[in-house]
């Protein structure tokens, strides 16, 4: 099989993205859900880098920097929230955190 490098790169990013998505959907532990979302974000970042190298521009790499920064901010807020949730529920099971529905 002889793929164009850009196509191959996008395909890899797509596979990573889908893996992350599946993992978010089947995991019950909130920390693992957060991890899986990180995988999806990084897959998107990879897709940007591949696209940028295809066009010979730096925009994609800049975007990847932003994605990294945003993911870090998100994780820091997320972990703080998870700690607080753990104090209340004594568990990290996402099914426990479902007092609201309807």
């Amino acid at each position: 099989m002889n793929l164009h490098p850009t196509t191959a790169g996008l395909l890899l990013a797509g596979i990573l993205f889908v893996l992350g998505l599946i993992s978010v959907l089947i995991r019950r532990n909130i920390i693992f859900m957060l991890l899986s979302v990180e995988i999806m974000l990084n897959a998107a970042g990879l897709a940007f880098v591949v696209a940028a190298s295809h066009w010979g521009q730096a925009d994609g790499q800049v975007m990847f920097m932003f994605i990294l920064a945003m993911a870090a901010a998100e994780v820091s807020v997320g972990l703080a929230l998870i700690l607080q949730l753990y104090h209340q529920l004594r568990s990290l099971d996402s099914d426990e955190a479902s007092r609201m529905n309807g």
């Binding site: 996008l10 998505l21 897709a47 800049v62 975007m63 945003m70 901010a73 997320g78 929230l81």
Partner: protein
């Protein structure tokens, strides 16, 4: 950056600087009132900064931002709504939370995110604005630590928002991979040159729609809305219902216009399905709810569907209709949440239908305001909501969207039911015997704000011409 850039982005820079200063202020001296007054001043200054910015329009800050009439109008709208929400928050947080000062960091910061969205014309600024908004919102939603539902709401919003921004980013990457541009006009030009939309770009648009649709709270990406509205502090719910959705909608409009979305039927159909589904699901699920926060959540889902109908009409009047509807919807939503805030006691939010039983006989003034807000949401004449809906129908007629209009009319009728249900509850006669009601806090500032909102609501309903002329003027630029 040139001098003109600084002046054009004045509102944004002012608010951002104010956030940094108020952070230092809190570090220096922790005082609720001082922080609150400072934030009020910051919003007012940002609003005044719009006036010099008007001298330079239309002004582009390449490649990321554009400041034209459309963005300045929406900047004004976002800042005014932020100011009103701030006015309503003081008492609410004074009574509830021990450490309340950081709220006045997060709220202006989230507003800044919305302002970035309003002026963005590039994927990068869209992403940055969205994330500034989202990450501040995680903190805001989970702000009341003592309340058991708030951190649940916070973590739900965090996971789902991160998931949706991953979709948005991947979609952007796909579009970028094909077109080689990240600025909206560049993408539009590249697509026009290609003459068709390849599958990758279509998939990219679809994934972007997931990210954007999540923020707008449209079906099928609406699942979070009722839970977050219920768990978040009331002023924050008002913020999510108005500013966060409005900011995203403005980017969506700019993107759609710049890529000439109406030329591609696939994109049109994707949005049309979302619009019809939002109207039906929103109104349908609101029918059986007992919690007013959840009713307002579902009603805002339906309202986004109405706005999308005007959006899809693809005519000049459609964009004007959206702008007017946004103004009306902002006033009404903040008003409705304002009533909830005013009626809440220091320990409990007044959120169930039973809390409002025979309210008209106990608090006639607040009940009147609430009735006006609900009638406006339902689109009854003499309110701004009616005029908004009227313009949307007119846009639909101009664009010959008969099917979508038919759906809109059916849904307006369904919607009427649950708004009237709340009103009927308020007018029930006083129960005999011992009934314990929530003791509302009824702060003075809140009452005055509500009065102003009601005056605006009725004023726009009776005399919409002035507002409409303003909107028509600023819309000349965009199409």
């Amino acid at each position: 950056m040139s001098f003109a850039d600084f002046i054009s982005l004045g509102p944004l820079i002012t608010l951002f600087t104010a956030v940094v200063i108020s952070m230092l202020l809190i570090a220096f001296k922790r005082n609720h009132r001082i922080t609150y007054v400072f934030s009020l001043l910051a919003y007012l200054m940002a609003l005044t900064a719009i006036i010099p910015a008007m001298l330079y329009i239309p002004h582009t800050v390449p490649p990321l931002l554009v400041v034209d009439e459309f963005s300045l109008f929406n900047t004004g709208l976002v800042l005014t709504s932020g100011l009103i929400i701030l006015l309503l928050s003081y008492n609410y947080f004074e009574e509830r939370e021990e450490r309340k000062e950081e709220y006045y960091l997060l709220l202006p910061l989230a507003t800044t995110g919305a302002l970035v969205l309003v002026v963005s014309r590039h994927f990068m600024s869209l992403f940055l604005g969205l994330e500034i908004l989202s990450i501040s919102l995680y903190g805001l939603i989970a702000y009341l630590r003592a309340r058991e539902r708030s951190d649940e709401a916070g973590i739900k919003y965090l996971i789902l928002a991160a998931l949706s921004s991953a979709f948005l980013l991947f979609g952007m990457a796909l579009v970028y991979a094909f077109t080689g541009h990240m600025d909206f006009p560049g993408i539009g030009a590249a697509l026009r040159q290609a003459g068709y939309i390849p599958v990758t770009v279509l998939a990219g648009f679809g994934m972007m729609l997931i990210g954007i649709g999540f923020k707008l709270g449209v079906v099928p990406f609406h699942m979070w809305a009722p839970d977050i509205y219920e768990g978040a502090p009331l002023p924050v719910s008002a913020f999510i219902a108005t500013i966060s959705k409005g900011g995203m909608l403005v980017v969506l409009i700019r993107f759609y216009v710049d890529i000439h979305g109406n030329d591609y039927s696939m994109i049109w159909w994707m949005l049309a399905i979302v619009a019809v589904a939002s109207m039906f699901v929103g109104n349908w699920l609101a029918l059986t709810q007992q919690n007013i926060k959840r009713i307002l959540a579902y009603s805002s889902i339906a309202h986004m569907g109405y706005i999308l109908v005007a959006f899809l009409s693809g005519v000049q009047t459609g964009l004007e209709a959206i702008s007017f509807y946004l103004v009306a919807y902002f006033i009404t939503s903040i008003g409705a949440f304002g009533v909830l805030i005013v009626m809440s006691s220091s320990i409990q939010d007044a959120e169930t239908l039973d809390d409002y039983r025979s309210m008209f006989w106990r608090y006639p003034w607040v009940a009147t305001v609430f009735t006006a807000m609900l009638l406006s949401l339902a689109g009854i004449p003499l309110t701004a909501g009616f005029i908004g809906k009227f313009y949307i129908v007119m846009a639909g007629v101009n664009g010959h969207m008969w099917f979508l209009l038919f759906m809109l009319v059916i849904n307006s009728v369904i919607g009427l039911y649950y708004y009237i249900r709340i009103i009927a509850m308020m007018f029930k006669s006083l129960a005999t015997g011992e009934v314990t009601y929530i003791k509302p806090s009824l702060p003075v500032a809140g009452n005055i704000t509500l009065m102003l909102l009601t005056l605006l609501l009725v004023g726009l309903g009776i005399y919409p011409t002035a507002m409409m002329q303003l909107i028509q003027q600023m819309m000349k630029m965009i199409v």
